[in-house]
Subunit: 217 residues, 4 copies
DNA sequence: GATGAATGAGGGTTCATTCAT
DNA sequence: AATGAATGAACCCTCATTCAT
């Protein structure tokens, strides 16, 4: 089941991908209109179905396409030699923000796709979800240096607390941005507040060896 | 603009509510079919529109209906005289799980409704969202006793970390339950794991006064 | 096929008749809603169909009811002893205006009913139309005194010219009133202009015997 | 907003136009069924809405289409160099009858459309009405030679009487044709009767200069 | 490859009419 | 007599998909 779309040169692919991602992100799977997609992409109705056999195939192609790009760029950029939990997780949070800023349309689509619950695509999405970054999250922390952790705590639980804090902070920040319609976000402020949270967590769960690693970074 | 549906006796209401909540939860607002709803509810097409004037009105009625039930039961049950953060939050997390288990269909609908972004209902949803539990979350912690917190930390940030940890744990637990199709959940195990998280957080952020309050509760 | 509605006392009939006539006049037969009628009349849906068996029967009842009232009042009031064409026709035109002013709702309904072309009622309307004033128009002029007409003209054709002139003038006047949204019409002006037309016609088609009958009237 | 329908070749357009005009003419805008139109036209439901976006657009297209044809053919044929009122108006009345006989379906539609008062289309109809023949009626008489009129009469009123007489005669004639289901009309008879009316009016309102213009025409 | 006309099932909604109460 | 819940066909319109060109 090879897609004819793959034989197309990239500069012909782009308007189609852009139009389709935007439409799906805005309206969800079922409500997205192939009519609108072909209109925005500047191609004929028939051609879309020549490239992709069905609306569903187009959606799933986009899902795999976007999730692969994010996964690939994520692992190409992240420095897994950094063994300190807090440095590692700060790096990850930052990387995520950078990727979203680099590919906002892809992210919008992917974010909407993950929440998608149209029965036509739900099963296939869940099947593919296993390959996605989010699900491999835990594995990103298996080689963390835990020697500096206070002995009273289970390592895995501490890692979870740190992850959930980052996620909660991210969600809260995104919500603030959205509700205040802030287009020009002050990265500096966000970064500083994030660092305070990380410092608190480090103070709480690590032995105080006087290095205060994060702030001197 | 009183709904004729309200004059109906509850045992006639139930199949309609159930069918509608299920359909909306599964497919989202736009994709949900009134045809499917009336089929599942065992009533005629016309009757649905006799009770509710429009699909949107049905959806909004369900939203208000479910959110009111959750809010009401939540505040009727929760003990706000408990000033200890960890006891309070443990109570809340537990209550949430109990409510979800008591009204799983309502919860599924409400969860989907909150994420809904169909333009037809988005504005009305956001208007009503202000009354919802989730948005009042922060207010639930304003009278917490902070005298036992270590002085190094900002109180609000600590509270956030605790909340986000609980939310992360809840989401993880719900995901496990869902993926393993567990209908008979072991509350005991979940409760114990939750307590460990809370104990860690208490140890991390509170002065050790030797009471070890939570475990002796 | 006697209507149960007829057994009702008039003061219970009135709101139903009023509501139905208004709805039909505003929206035409097919587009008129029995729901709106019962709401405006303050009765239940079932009762309307208890009185009249069907929407069509209600409509035809109203048609016969209103056309009978107009015909009856017309013939009760008009002075057929007046044998002068111009006086007779002026009387008729004036009487028509008075009847419309006396029963504006009935007239609105009747006017709309005559133009109605919904296939459900068209045949029955045309069958009943024969009894209506408009169709008996010509008969109203059979005993006119024609001795004063110039001999060059056929009497019937002159009568037709006069009738059509009156009708044309009436239509033009109604259109002016409608387009200018005049609610307070100057009857005086209209009457004077109408008289000029009638005088012209008299001058044109009658022997000049110096009486100038109309203006001295 | 170009209609896709316009790209269709005329022999494919015709059954659709015919079916739609007939349905609208018979039942009025609101009561007309697109289901019936596509059935009569032999096309699918979707195709009608592929050509025209909405029922209203179809109706307005038909209105512009038919009124343009009538206006165009009217002004192409009428001889405005004829300055005599009676010759001019005879020409117009005759032309109108010819056009109606040439395009009976278009006329039926157009006649119904002008009387249409469905709120969905009323505003648009009135906006376009200004371009229609009927409204330009008065302008057709501005350059009439009035030197032969008797001085006792106001010119405009005489013209109105003549117009209303023609209209009354036309309406009466059409009604006779309709009620007797005459498909083969005797133009000769109608023409002769019309001429008598016009001769009477000329005798009545013009100076007798012995030419008796119309009958020698 | 590329087009867009053509399909028909399904969408939400309205409606006159019936009937148990 | 009087109610209004209940019906289901019909309403206009949208849609992904197909196919002749």
């Amino acid at each position: 089941m090879t897609l004819k779309f793959l034989d197309l040169n990239p500069q012909k692919q782009k308007p189609i991908l852009d139009a389709a991602m935007k439409e799906f992100a805005q309206k969800g799977y079922k409500n997205a209109s192939t009519n609108e997609i072909v209109k925005a992409a500047g191609i004929s109705k028939g051609l879309l179905f020549h490239y992709f056999n069905a609306k569903k195939d187009l959606f799933m192609y986009l899902y795999n396409y976007t999730s692969e790009i994010f996964t690939k760029e994520f692992f190409e950029t992240i420095d897994l030699s950094e063994k300190d939990l807090f440095k590692r997780i700060r790096q990850m949070a930052w990387l995520k923000i950078e990727l979203i800023n680099k590919h906002p349309e892809l992210y919008n689509f992917l974010y909407a796709a993950i929440l998608e619950d149209a029965p036509e695509v739900k099963n296939d999405l869940e099947a593919n979800n296993k390959h996605l970054l989010a699900n491999n999250y835990a594995k990103l922390f298996k080689d963390i240096d835990v020697t500096n952790f206070k002995e009273d705590f289970e390592v895995n639980k501490v890692i979870n607390i740190v992850i959930w804090t980052i996620e909660g902070f991210s969600a809260q920040t995104l919500a603030k941005i959205k509700s205040q319609q802030l287009n020009d976000v002050s990265y500096e402020e966000i970064s500083q507040e994030l660092d305070v949270y990380l410092k608190f967590l480090e103070m709480a769960f690590c032995k105080d060896d006087g290095t205060d690693s994060l702030l001197k970074q």
